[in-house]
C-alpha cells in the first residue's frame, strides 16, 4: 500500500472512528462500547465501565465486593479460602477464587451464572454417592431450594429441620415494629412552621406538616430549607441522610440508588428494563428520597405501595391489588403500615433489627434489590415473619405465583424437606395430591 493510500485510510476512517469513540466515552454514551447484553443486575450501571473494569486489569474480586459485600457476609465459598496450595488441584478444574469465573458479564439479561449448571461437581462429585442424594442429576444442586453456593445459612440441614412441619401461615405473625430514628426534640409540640424568609407555604402543606412525624420530632421548615441563612428550595438526599443515614445508605446500595452512588444521573423510570407505566416513563421523576416520600406529610403508607405502583407496571406489580397480601393492608390500621399489613415495601424493603451500636432499633432497609434473589434470602428475611419456611420457599420458586403476586398455593412441594425426614416427604405428597 502506498503512503498516500495509507494516509487516506487513516484520515478518512480511523481518525473519525477514534474521534467518535472519544466523544461517545466522554459524553457518557458508553453503551456503544458494551460488548454484549448486560445482565439485569448491572444494566443500570453499564455506562460506568470503571465501576467494574480496571484499565488493563480486567474485573477484580475487589470491584465486585464493593457492591456485593453485604450479600457475601455469610459466604461459604469465599475466594480467600481458596488462596491456599491445598486447593490447587480443585482450582484447575474450576477457578472459584475469582468471581468472574462463574459470573461473566455481557452474556445476556438473565445470565447471572454463566458456567454449566453442574459446576458444583467439579469439587463435590462424591455427593451423589450418599444414600440421600443417590440418583440426583449434577445440574440440579441449586434447584428446588436445595443449595445456595454463597450462603447456606437458610438451607442448611439444622435450619430446615428447625422449620420442618411449620404451617403455611404462622399463628403468630407480623414484621417487627419500626422505630423512628433519632430522639424526639424538645421543640416537639410547638408545631408552628418557621419558613425561611422568602418562602411562602400553602396552607395544605402546613397542615400536612403539622400532623407529620417531622413536626413531632421538631424538624421544621428551616431544618431542611435553610442553610447558612440561605433558602434551599429542593434539599437533596444528603440532607435526609443527616437523620436517616441507614435508610439513605441502603437506598444507594440497591438498584434504585445505584446510579446516584456511582456518579451517574439518578435513575428514571424510562431507564428501567422492567415494564413501567407510560406516564412514569414520560414524566420527569428521578429516584431519590422525595420520589417516594412526601417530606411534608411523612406518611409512609403511600411510599409503601402507591409510590411503587406509580411506576412499576409488570405482571407481578399489577397483580398486587387483587392479591391476598393487598387485603391485609386494606384495613385502616393507623397512618403507617401496621405490623401485619403487607405492602410492596414489606417484601422489597425489609425491616431489620439493627445492632446495639444503632440502639437495637428496627429500621427499613431501602436496598430494593436485596431480597429479589436468591429466593431463600427473601424467605428468611421477609416471608418467615408470617409463613412457614417450606411454604415460603415453594411459593417463591413457583413462577406463576410470583407473577400473580402469590394469589394461591404453590403447585409443588419441596424435595429439600422431603429428603430431610420421612414425615416431611409425606407432607409433600399430601400437598401434591
Amino acid at each position: 500500500m502506498s503512503w498516500m493510500r495509507l494516509r487516506t485510510w487513516v484520515f478518512g476512517l480511523a481518525l473519525p472512528l477514534l474521534a467518535f469513540g472519544v466523544v461517545a466515552f466522554e459524553l457518557e454514551r458508553r453503551h456503544f462500547f458494551v460488548p454484549g447484553t448486560t445482565t439485569d443486575g448491572h444494566y443500570l450501571m453499564e455506562a460506568s465501565c470503571n465501576s467494574c473494569h480496571s484499565p488493563f486489569a480486567g474485573v477484580s474480586n475487589d470491584r465486585c465486593s464493593r457492591c456485593h459485600r453485604a450479600e457475601l457476609d455469610n459466604d461459604t465459598h469465599p475466594p480467600a479460602l481458596f488462596d491456599d496450595p491445598r486447593w490447587a488441584d480443585d482450582l484447575e478444574k474450576l477457578d472459584v477464587s475469582s468471581c468472574v469465573t462463574c459470573h461473566r458479564e455481557h452474556r445476556g439479561p438473565q445470565s447471572a451464572v454463566t458456567v454449566a449448571r453442574d459446576f458444583c461437581f467439579a469439587c463435590h462429585s462424591d455427593v451423589v454417592e450418599r444414600a440421600s442424594h443417590r440418583g440426583l442429576a449434577p445440574a440440579t444442586c441449586g434447584d428446588a431450594g436445595c443449595h445456595n453456593y454463597h450462603d447456606g445459612s437458610v438451607l442448611r440441614r439444622d435450619n430446615l429441620a428447625a422449620h420442618q412441619n411449620e404451617p403455611d401461615l404462622l399463628a403468630s405473625r407480623g414484621v417487627p415494629a419500626r422505630a423512628m430514628p433519632g430522639a424526639v426534640s424538645s421543640r416537639a409540640g410547638t408545631r408552628a412552621p418557621d419558613p425561611p424568609a422568602g418562602l411562602a407555604i400553602p396552607n395544605a402543606l402546613a397542615t400536612a406538616w403539622r400532623k407529620s412525624a417531622h413536626a413531632v420530632s421538631g424538624v421544621n421548615c428551616s431544618s431542611c430549607h435553610e442553610r447558612s441563612g440561605r433558602l434551599v428550595m429542593r434539599p437533596g438526599q444528603e440532607l435526609c441522610r443527616s437523620c436517616h443515614a441507614f435508610e439513605v445508605d441502603t437506598f444507594l446500595a440497591g438498584k434504585h440508588g445505584l446510579r446516584t452512588r456511582i456518579g451517574l444521573p439518578a435513575l428514571r423510570p424510562r431507564d428501567a428494563r422492567l415494564a413501567m407505566r407510560p406516564e412514569a416513563v414520560a414524566g420527569p421523576r428521578q429516584l431519590d428520597c422525595a420520589a417516594c416520600h412526601d417530606p411534608h406529610s411523612v406518611d409512609t403508607r403511600p411510599a409503601a405501595t402507591e409510590a411503587c405502583l406509580g411506576c412499576h407496571d409488570d405482571l407481578h406489580s399489577r397483580s398486587f391489588a387483587g392479591s391476598p397480601h393487598a387485603r391485609t393492608a386494606a384495613t385502616p390500621g393507623g397512618r403507617r403500615p401496621g405490623q401485619q399489613d403487607v405492602t410492596c415495601a414489606t417484601c422489597h424493603l425489609p425491616r431489620l433489627e439493627l445492632g446495639r451500636a444503632a440502639g437495637h432499633r428496627v429500621a427499613v432497609n431501602h436496598n430494593n434489590t436485596l431480597t429479589l434473589a436468591p429466593p431463600d434470602r427473601m424467605a428468611a428475611m421477609v416471608c418467615g415473619f408470617c409463613h412457614g419456611l417450606e411454604f415460603s420457599l415453594a411459593s417463591l420458586l413457583d413462577r406463576g405465583l410470583v407473577e400473580n403476586n402469590f394469589s394461591g398455593h404453590p403447585k409443588k412441594g419441596l424435595k429439600t424437606f422431603a429428603m430431610l425426614h420421612p414425615s416431611a416427604a409425606a407432607a409433600v405428597q399430601e400437598r401434591q395430591r
Binding site: P78, A80, L81, P85, R86, W87, D89, D90, R157
Partner: protein, 194 residues
C-alpha cells in the same frame, strides 16, 4: 583545607563500608540460622496456644462452666461464640490475606467437609501425626510451579467442650473422642523462597 578533611572523610567512608558488610553478614547469618521447619514450629506454637486458650478460657469457661453464652457454628444467627475451629479458620483467612503463610485444620473426621484431607501429602501427614502425635510431618511440595514448605502437626482435643461438640454433632462421622485424642491436624504452608 581539603587535605585537612581527608582523614575524617576516609574514616567515615571506612565506617560506612564496615556497616554495610556487617549488615550483609547479619542478613546471611539470619537466613542461614532459621530453618523452615523451625519457622513452622514457631507458627504452630502460636496457633496452638491461641486455640487452646480460646477453647479453655473462653468456650469451656463461658459455655460449660459458667453458662453465660453458648458456642455455636451458626454464631452470627444465634448470637453465640464462634467454635474454636471457626476462630482458627477466620484467623487463617485474615493472616493469608496478605499472601505467604497459609494454615488450616484438617481431619479424617471433619464436621466441615472443607477440612477433609485433599492431597496425598495431607493423607500421609494425618496418618503420621496420629501414630506419633509429638512429631510434626514435614515436606517440601511443588504446587503449580511454586515450592512450598509444608508441615502437619497433631491437633488434640484440648478441652471437654471439643469432645462434647464433636461426639454429638449430627455431621460428625465419629462419636467416641476422648480428651487428649488426636482429632486431626493443623497444616502450615508457606513458600520456600520469599
Amino acid at each position: 583545607m581539603k587535605r585537612q578533611y581527608a582523614p575524617i572523610l576516609g574514616c567515615i567512608a571506612s565506617l560506612c563500608w564496615l556497616a554495610v558488610i556487617g549488615c550483609q553478614r547479619a542478613d546471611s547469618r539470619e537466613a542461614a540460622t532459621i530453618p523452615a521447619s523451625l519457622v513452622a514450629d514457631y507458627i504452630h506454637k502460636v496457633i496452638e496456644a491461641d486455640r487452646a486458650t480460646y477453647a479453655t478460657q473462653v468456650v469451656q469457661r463461658l459455655q460449660d462452666e459458667e453458662g453465660v453464652i453458648t458456642a455455636n457454628e451458626h454464631f452470627k444467627e444465634n448470637k453465640a461464640l464462634p467454635l474454636p475451629a471457626q476462630m482458627l479458620r477466620m484467623g487463617a483467612q485474615r493472616a493469608s490475606s496478605s499472601g505467604g503463610l497459609r494454615y488450616s485444620l484438617i481431619s479424617k473426621w471433619a464436621i466441615n467437609k472443607t477440612n477433609l484431607p485433599r492431597t496425598d501429602f495431607e493423607r500421609r501427614g494425618l496418618e503420621a501425626v496420629a501414630a506419633q502425635p509429638d512429631r510434626a510431618f514435614r515436606e517440601y511440595q511443588d504446587v503449580k510451579g511454586v515450592r512450598y514448605f509444608m508441615a502437619i502437626y497433631a491437633d488434640k482435643a484440648v478441652s471437654p467442650a471439643c469432645v462434647k461438640c464433636h461426639n454429638h454433632h449430627s455431621e460428625s462421622p465419629r462419636h467416641d473422642f476422648r480428651e487428649g485424642d488426636v482429632m486431626g491436624g493443623i497444616i502450615i504452608a508457606f513458600p520456600a523462597s520469599p
